[in-house]
């Protein structure tokens, strides 16, 4: 579904991601784990086109997207839920969702989104900035889903979210994968969440993957030791 080859990304003189290679299978949930500052967010920003890559290739299906602008990548089928949600605070909930849509949105699409996140239906006329952190996270996922992506990319979706909502988000991700048959990449530091949702995990350290394991081959303690300073 997504194939990344020799991807190098950096800021100014410094390189953050070093000739990275990985692929994402159809309908797979891939967790990318690592401590702060190891390059998780940089990698995801590069996938969505917020940060330009210095070299390498990003294939979405058969299409090379590494040279495209962000909005063109979204139209190609990749959607992004950023760290810190970045919802539009002065737009209403329904307007926030609409910003992710191309063309008219069918009633069935609204129904699907609101079935997944019922609280957003209740809050649909409220300003996005007046929602709680957990509600904003659900809104950011809904905004990404309305573009009908083939690949959904989430950057630390549990950051600053209360535990009960974290479980809701995990449930929603599994539901999204099975209902829409899409692949998901999620960066995470919360081990329990990762163990709950992923099929495979990659551990990133200083811009390189240092460990890869399927979910079945991982234990929470093993992951914690890999993430320990």
């Amino acid at each position: 579904m997504l194939t990344v080859s020799n991807l190098t990304v950096g800021y100014g003189q410094s390189r953050v991601i070093h000739e990275m290679n990985f692929s994402l299978r159809a309908e797979e949930i891939l967790a990318i784990m690592g401590r702060n500052g190891m390059g998780k967010t940089t990698l995801l920003k590069s996938l969505i086109g917020i940060l330009p890559s210095r070299q390498g290739s990003i294939l979405l299906g058969d299409k090379e997207i590494s040279g495209l602008a962000s909005h063109e990548r979204v139209r190609s089928g990749i959607a992004f839920v950023p760290q810190g949600r970045m919802i539009f605070p002065a737009l209403t909930v329904s307007e926030n969702i609409l910003t992710g849509a191309r063309g008219p949105v069918e009633k069935s699409a609204w129904d699907e989104i609101y079935a997944l996140f019922p609280i957003l239906h209740e809050m649909r006329k409220r300003k996005g900035g007046n929602l709680s952190g957990g509600q904003q996270q659900q809104l950011a996922i809904a905004r990404a889903l309305i573009s009908n992506p083939k690949v959904l990319v989430l950057d630390e979706p549990t950051e600053g979210i209360q535990p009960s909502i974290i479980k809701d988000i995990a449930r929603a991700l599994r539901q999204i994968r099975s209902a829409r048959k899409i692949a998901i990449i999620v960066t995470e530091q919360v081990v329990s969440f990762m163990m709950d949702v992923c099929d495979r995990a990659l551990v990133i350290e200083r811009g390189r993957f240092v460990h890869e394991a399927p979910r079945e081959g991982l234990s929470a303690d093993q992951v914690r030791s890999l993430l320990a300073v």
Partner: protein, 293 residues
Amino acid sequence: MQSFAGFSLFSVLLLMALGLAIIFGQMGVVNLAHGEFMALGAYTVYLSSTVVHTYLPALAPYYFVIAIVIAFLVAGLTGWLVEWSLIRFLYKRPLDTLLATWGLSLIMQQSFRSIFGAREVTPTLPEWLMGSFKPSESIDIPINGVFVMGLTLALTLGIWLFMYRSRIGLQMRATVQNRVMSGAAGINTRLVDRFTFSLGCGIAGVAGAAFTTIGSTGPDSGSRYIVDTFLVVVFGGTASLMGTIASAFGIAQGQSILEFFLKGTMGKVAVLMVIVLVLMIRPQGLFASKIRS
């Protein structure tokens, strides 16, 4: 009568400020050439008037309404060209934008002077825009003033509907709030920028068309209004349509009424002092969104 004079000034300020509120409030671009886009609209009406009265006199009673649309298109398309050729390279450089648009305003003024001459010009207005009506013996209301007010109200409503009921309006509001995230949500922010600038310039063109019913147009007609227009936008709150309307109304009425009681420029000074005081207390302007940080 003084109150009606305030309403006329309100219409003038609001028409100018609506376009600027979109460009400055939504994009953060300080467009010092905004007044010249207004003059471009006015000159477009003058040219339309000349062409119609010379070649198509039968259309004379109706041309003015079509000329307003042409003024919108000419100013809007020029704005599109200016954004593409100049402004887009300066988005992260506000001081350079200031200089570039000031230079553009000088170029446009000189172009008007070279093409139309230094003297002021006036289009021949249709009969139905001339004269006045008297609701009572002591009150004489000019029809052109009422027309400008009607046009202002219609345009304000149109802009509100566009900004809050259309998809491109939604994309414009999203891009203002978070450009990077808008792109990552699938919005073509460069196209939105070009459209926003072009729309603001087009509205300035309509403002220019409206001004031809009130006064004559010269090469520097636009620059006379630019400071007041910025005051309206900043005082109202840069990203608020309601703020722009309330601010234009407050400044225009305050200025007209205070000039009546205080005489001369003292009315204007008093209004400026009030604006400075309010901005000291509320730097974000009168209207600002209340949202969680």
